[in-house]
Structures are given as structure tokens and as C-alpha cells.
């Protein structure tokens, strides 16, 4: 379970351009559920998601993961938690150009030093499950939008994380691919993973598999 207590996030603190993205957010995200953070642009969805995913620290407040306070942990420990606990699916596929799909997918596992042959099998299985095994050797710039999105999903899963974090995953997908994405999310849920998605796409937050929708506006939770 993830718990946020009175979390605040201020950018450019002390500058004339100071901007408060989150204001006293209190939130509990349950395990094995699909939670959607919904809200208009600038409502603080991505900021909240990056704090939940240990990608950035709150300016104030506490974040607890499985009851353990993680806000004050040094960067090394946070990286370790991020690597082992979270799988990230970004709005853009954010694949590294010039290297193959397989190499991109294996990237998050490099710092763990897993044996190459094992890692390769794991990556190939992931690519097969999402029907892009035939693109393993291709360079990422040759992929279509949907293929790139699926490659980034396989990358998010390579270290077998418990929690999947997806930031506006359908923003650049057409309806068919968006439905395909939601099917994949359903599969994650069936496997017992926790999924947190930010979206303002009705196709996502109105989906039957979503357990909870959290509404955000102006850096605060509504309702």
C-alpha cells in the first residue's frame, strides 16, 4: 500500500516564478487495484505520480510504501526501490534511439547485473506476450507508435515490478491501440499488480477494470 500524508510540492521555491504543484495531498492507494489520477492539464497528476514513483521528492509531507517511510531515504536507496518496485510507462515511449528494441527493453536490468542469457530470455518472453518479438532486433526509430508503446511496456516490466505507473499512456494512441493498452492493464491486474495511471481520457477512467478514480484540480484532491 502507498500512503501520502500532507504532501506538498513547490517548484522554483523562493523565486518570483515559484509555483505550487501539489497542496496538502493525502491519499491511500490500495494494492492489486487499478487507480486512475484524473484531472485537467496542470492539475498536478504527473507531479503526484513522480512522487509516488520515487522519481522526485515532495517539498513537504511524507510518502510511505508498505508502511515504510521513504521520503527521507538517500538517492541510492530510492533508486533501488524505484528499480525493483516500480515499472514506468511514460506518455511518450521514451526509448533510446539508435539501439535495438531488445537492448532498450533490457536497459532497466543492466544495473542489477543479471546474467545476459537469462535477461535476454525474459525480455524476449515479454516482447512475445505483446506480439512484438519479431521487432526485437529492429532499431526503435523504425517502430510504429503502438509498437513503441508496447516496447516501453515490456521495458517497464523487465524487473518484474509490483507497481506499474503509467503517465497519460493513451495520449498518443488511437482508439484501437488505447483499448489494446487497457487489455494489457487488465492482464496486470489479473496478475496481482498494482496499477496507477494518470489520464484525462474517458476511455481510461470510465473503463470497467478501474477500481478507483482520484480527481485532482489545482494540486488538490477533489471530493
Amino acid at each position: 500500500m502507498i500512503e501520502l500524508v500532507n504532501v506538498k510540492k513547490v517548484f522554483n521555491a523562493g523565486n518570483p516564478s515559484e509555483f505550487s504543484a501539489l497542496n496538502s495531498v493525502n491519499l491511500r492507494i490500495a494494492e492489486n487495484q487499478v487507480t486512475v489520477l484524473k484531472g485537467p492539464s496542470g492539475s498536478g497528476k504527473t507531479t503526484l505520480l513522480s512522487i509516488v514513483g520515487c522519481m522526485s521528492r515532495p517539498s513537504a509531507g511524507r510518502v510511505k510504501l508498505q508502511g515504510r517511510e521513504i521520503t527521507s531515504l538517500p538517492e541510492r536507496f530510492l533508486t533501488d526501490i524505484r528499480r525493483k518496485t516500480f515499472g514506468f510507462i511514460f506518455q511518450q515511449p521514451n526509448l533510446i534511439k539508435g539501439i535495438s528494441v531488445l537492448d532498450n527493453v533490457m536497459l532497466p536490468a543492466y544495473p542489477l547485473g543479471e546474467k545476459r542469457s537469462h535477461l535476454k530470455i525474459k525480455a524476449m518472453n515479454g516482447l512475445s506476450e505483446l506480439n512484438i518479438a519479431n521487432k526485437a532486433a529492429s532499431k526503435v526509430e523504425w517502430l510504429s507508435g503502438g509498437e513503441a508503446q508496447r516496447a516501453s511496456i515490456v521495458r517497464a516490466l523487465i524487473n518484474d515490478p509490483h507497481i506499474i505507473i503509467a503517465d497519460e499512456p493513451t495520449a498518443h494512441l488511437d482508439t484501437k491501440l488505447s483499448y489494446r493498452f487497457m487489455e494489457i492493464i487488465e492482464k496486470f491486474k489479473a496478475e496481482g499488480k498494482t496499477v496507477i495511471i494518470t489520464s484525462h481520457d474517458p476511455l481510461v477512467y470510465e473503463s470497467s477494470m478501474v477500481d478507483r478514480v482520484v480527481n485532482l484540480r489545482d494540486g488538490q484532491i477533489e471530493g
Binding site: R82, P108, P111, R116
Partner: protein, 411 residues
Amino acid sequence: MRNWIEKQRYIIDFTISSLLRRKVKNFGLLALYTLIVFILASTMFFTYAIKKEASLILKGAPEIVVQKIVAGRHDLFPVSYIETIKNIRGVASVESRLWGYYYDSLVSANYTLLTPPSSDAAKPSAKTTVVESESGGKPAKPLYELNGAVLEPGTLIIGNGIARLRNIGKDDYMPFRAFDGKVMNFRIAGVLSSQSELVSSDLMLITGEDFRKLFGIDQSHVTDLTVAVNNPSEVEMVASKIKKHLPDARPIIRDEILRTYDSIFNWRGGMMIVIFSAAVLAFVIFAWDKASGLSAGERREIGILKAVGWETSDVIQMKFWEGAVVSLTAFFSGVILAYVHVFFTGSIVFEPALKGWSSLYPNFELTPFVNLEQLTTLFFLTVVPYTVATIVPIWRAATIDPDSAMRFTGE
């Protein structure tokens, strides 16, 4: 431990693929970097090897040369002084020399004319006469070698540089205009061995009689004297005694000649480095710019790596390897190319600046001498600054929050 090794392998693999992804930029940088190391290493190798070569050759030079000085200038040496010097305690032998310069207006070159010591000339049996070959246990290089040629009146033995310049060889004739305007024709009896070309390129051996006729020097004078001393540690003492007995004489000891050669080539090498320092500076600016200004693509890549779970130290390590691969490859390629350039191609690029005195360039192959200290200095002046310049901005970029990757919207 196994995981750690595997992790390093992954990082190195990724580094190499990163370098190859920016082929044009990295190869351009590598080429420029290699060129700088090549220039610096060539100058260093050349200067060091030529000094070493000259010092080996000059080891065979006379211990003391005595000249006469009039009003601070070199004058002809009276033969009558020889006895005075012979009587100084510690002097083993005294030999008079006849030598001088002849300006050939046809090719605008100065030749050095020398009368070989009486013992060396006209030895029909000698296959190779080596002049001054041993000195203090370590074999010295010969000053010149007469390859079986016999020096007789009316003949010359010439250095390789002159033979090339005038396009002449054995049994050809060479005309000279004597001091009184008369033309003297000499037959070439032979060409000196190319082994000692560094100092014998412009040399001509001539008999004493012919030399006197050519320059109008009477029998009571010679050009200078060479003095051999029994005990090497007494050389300076003997020189000071000569000075005391003959106040107008100027004894020059061998170490002084070596020092002069050293400073001449140091000066030439220094000039080269000063000229190329502009190129080095340009490279430093380029490298700094390349290293400090990370492109948006590189920043984005660092953001992605951090977002997917790479630690700051992993990213820095990767970028360190990237810098190290470029700088080490450039360093070793530059040094190897410089070695080939200096020791196998005779420094074709820098030849005019570093060797030769006028229009007569010696054509010789340097024996490879490499000074480890100089190489280490070059390493610390090129590889280390570049690697450090790469690390600092990467460290700054690598410590940013990984959520920047999440906020990246352009593709």
C-alpha cells in the same frame, strides 16, 4: 561479484553503443584529438631521438678542441703553439686540424671541408675506416666512415647530402674557386657512409695540401687543434691550463658541444610546440565545449536511464568510459602514428623545421629512442584533462531528478 562484473560489462557495452550512435561527432573528435597527440608526440620523439643521436655521435668527438681567438673571433692557429700544449701534464696527444666552410653559389649551400687526421687518409688496405669509435666503454657512433675510398691529392670524399644536392658520385669532378680566384678541379674519390649523415651530410674530406691551396693557408698555421687527455676527469683541468699558458687560445671541451646541441634541438622542439600550441588551444576549447555542453538528446537519454532505474554513479561511470575510450584511443593512435612518422618515414611533415641548417638536409633514419617520462607527461596533458572535462557536466546532469524524462513531450 559475478553480478558486479556483469553490470560493468553491460555498462561498457552500452558505452560503446552510445559512441557508435553518435558516429560522426565522435569520429570527428577522435580524429582531431589524434592529430593533436600526433603533433606533440612527433615533436617530442624527434627532439629526444635527435639529441640522443647527436650525443652518441659526439661521444666520439675530441675531448678538447683548441682554437685561437683574436678580438673575440676564431683565427688561424699557429703551429708553434702545439709544443706548448704537448708539454702540459696530462695531455696524451695533440693533433692539428684543417677545416673550413666553402659556399657553393650554384646550389646556395655551405659545405664543411675537413682534412682527416693523417692516420686515416690514404689507407688503401682499409675497407672501412671508422674515426673515433670508442668512448668510455659505450660504443659511440662514427663521425664519418670512409668506405674503402682512398683520399689522394686532387681528390675529395663527399657527404651524402652534397652527392644528392649536386647529383654527383664517385669519379665525377667538382670545380672550386680558390682564395686567389683560380679554379681547382677535384675528382670525387668516394661518398661517405650514410650512417652518420646527421653530422656528415655536408662534409667533404680533402687532403691537407689541397686545403691549403684552396684557402691560402700557409704551413705555419692550422685551423685548430684536438687534444686527447689521459684521464677523463682531468679534461677541465687541462683546458684551464691551456688557457693559462696560451691566453689567446680557447679550449672547448666535448661536454660544451653536447650542451650546445642539446639547447639547439630543445629550442627547435620548443619552437614547434609554440607554433602548434595554437592548435592545442583550439582543441582544448573544442573539447571543453563538447564536454561541457551536453546536447538535449544526451540530457534526455540521461533522464530516461535514471527514470528506468540507473543510479547517478552508473550514468557517470558510463560517461567516464565514453571519455576514456575516446581519449585513450586518440592517445595511443597519436603516439603510434608519431612513432611511425618519426622513426620510419623520417618525419616528413616536420623535416624542414626540425633538421638541417640551410639547403642541405641530412637524410637519415633515427634510432628509436622513447623517453617514458615525456610520454607520461603527454598522457597527463591530454587524456586526464579531457576525461575530467567530460565528467563534471555529466555529474551535474546526472544528479537531476529523473522525473524530467516523464515531462519530456517531444520525440
